[in-house]
């Protein structure tokens, strides 16, 4: 039970994603994109948004790769224990186009987690490093509307997080709390839908997702529901000329994340879970072969239960490769 108090809010799942209309069709598609946005999303994986997925295609028989580096800090502890948690993650994502509609993805994080806490008169640091839980999922395009210089797509996805990371690491003080372990020990399915509207000038993405976390080691993290939205606007070149120039996008994203209370031994922990809203400014440079990008998720609202630990920020940089 004590370990649960350390957890607060568990490691963000974010470590981990017109044939007819002409200009007059734009608002309809934008409305649909925002509709899916209003309804959530998870798994930062592939495509143009930085903190979540996209519905853009992966060509049949082709691979795409993404390497993310993520630093997440949580502090501002209301419990008086002065907890301070830092998670550094290197997240590798490989996507493969099975056919023109179906793409499959694998996500493998390498994590370094540390929790500092006051224990009596001393400051204690507890940490773990290693490969985390592997996630695999498939994404299937159900709506595709292509027009000259723009497209609209809707793609549901479904996957599972496998317990490949170590979930029973110990230190001199005993077994590490779940918020420090690099693996959860449980098989956790997730489902969602992502919508994308893309033009030569800008792109809008929105994602709704849900992850059902299961019990392992007498601990069950709360389920996570997410709603994500992203706008990417081309800043350079301001005017398109010939060929395929590199695009510099200014990015603004929003992530609304709700997590249920954790459970220990089947009993709900009142000091866990809650709702967070992040606003995420970022920058992205896109070429034919690669993308480099960076963003900082800034919490602007955190309505958390009890003494759950607040996020300070989540910083991300990543590269993506077409090969």
């Amino acid at each position: 039970m004590r370990a649960l108090r350390f957890v607060g809010f568990r490691r963000s799942s974010a470590v981990t994603d017109i044939n007819d209309s002409g200009v007059a069709g734009m608002p309809k598609h934008l409305i649909l994109v925002f509709f899916f946005g209003i309804m959530g999303g998870s798994h930062a994986v592939f495509g143009a948004p930085i903190t979540f997925n996209t519905a853009l295609p992966v060509a049949k028989g082709e691979f795409v790769f993404r390497q993310q580096f993520i630093v997440s800090r949580s502090g501002d502890d209301p419990s008086g224990a002065d907890r301070d948690r830092t998670s550094q993650a290197a997240v590798s994502v490989l996507g493969y186009g099975v056919n023109r509609k179906l793409a499959v993805f694998g996500v493998m994080p390498y994590l370094s987690n540390e929790l500092k806490i006051n224990a009596g008169a001393t400051r204690v640091s507890r940490s773990a490093q290693g490969f985390g839980d592997l996630s695999v999922f498939g994404r299937f395009t159900v709506v595709q509307r292509d027009r000259p210089g723009r497209n609209f797509r809707v793609a549901p996805f479904f996957g599972i997080k496998a317990p490949t990371g170590e979930d029973d690491a110990t230190d001199a003080l005993g077994r590490l709390p779940p918020s420090v372990q690099v693996g959860s020990g449980s098989w956790d399915p997730f489902i969602g839908v992502v919508a994308t509207y893309q033009t030569l000038r800008y792109q809008v993405d929105s994602q709704l997702s849900y992850r059902a976390n299961n019990e392992a080691n007498n601990f069950q993290a709360g389920d996570i529901a997410r709603l994500d939205g992203s706008l990417q606007y081309r800043l350079y070149p301001r005017k398109l000329t010939g060929g395929v120039p590199g695009f510099l996008y200014g990015v603004i994203e929003a992530n609304l994340i709700h997590q249920d209370n954790n459970r220990v031994g089947g009993i709900e922990d009142p000091n866990s879970g809650g709702t967070r809203l992040f606003v995420t400014p970022g920058i992205q440079y896109i070429t034919k072969r690669w993308i480099v990008e960076g963003a900082v998720q800034i919490p602007i609202s955190q309505d958390l239960n009890g003494t759950a630990l607040e996020n300070d920020y989540v910083a991300r940089v990543s590269v993506r490769l077409n090969f």
């Binding site: 295609p57 028989g61 023109r100 292509d146 210089g149 000329t241 060929g243 120039p245 695009f247 993308i291």
Partner: protein, 101 residues
């Protein structure tokens, strides 16, 4: 100076393989949905897997892809359609803009 250059050029042409100076078949594909550089690469790669394709040039602003074939080879609309579709986009138009020898 021209007295030297002319025989050299003639020699180069004589020694060059036929494909170096024979006109190739060139096609213009109008592709709907192309709107970012990263996606353009998928179309390029799928078209490049077709036998005889020598060069693929994407004009993102116009939404067209220019496919240059090696001498003596041709691209069919069906081949182009399949490649563009496999890349996740839609072929709207197909035309030959240069006829090979």
């Amino acid at each position: 100076m021209n007295l030297i250059r002319a025989p050299i050029m003639a020699l180069v042409l004589l020694l060059s393989p036929p494909s170096a100076y024979a006109a190739a078949n060139v096609y213009e594909l109008e592709v709907d949905g192309l709107a970012c550089p990263f996606c353009a690469y998928g179309v390029e790669k799928r078209l490049s897997t077709i036998e005889g394709v020598e060069k693929v040039d994407v004009e993102l602003k116009k939404g067209v892809v220019i496919v240059t074939m090696t001498a003596g080879t041709a691209l069919t609309e069906n081949q182009a359609q399949r490649a563009v579709r496999d890349a996740g986009f839609t072929l709207r138009g197909f035309s030959q803009i240069q006829r090979g020898d």
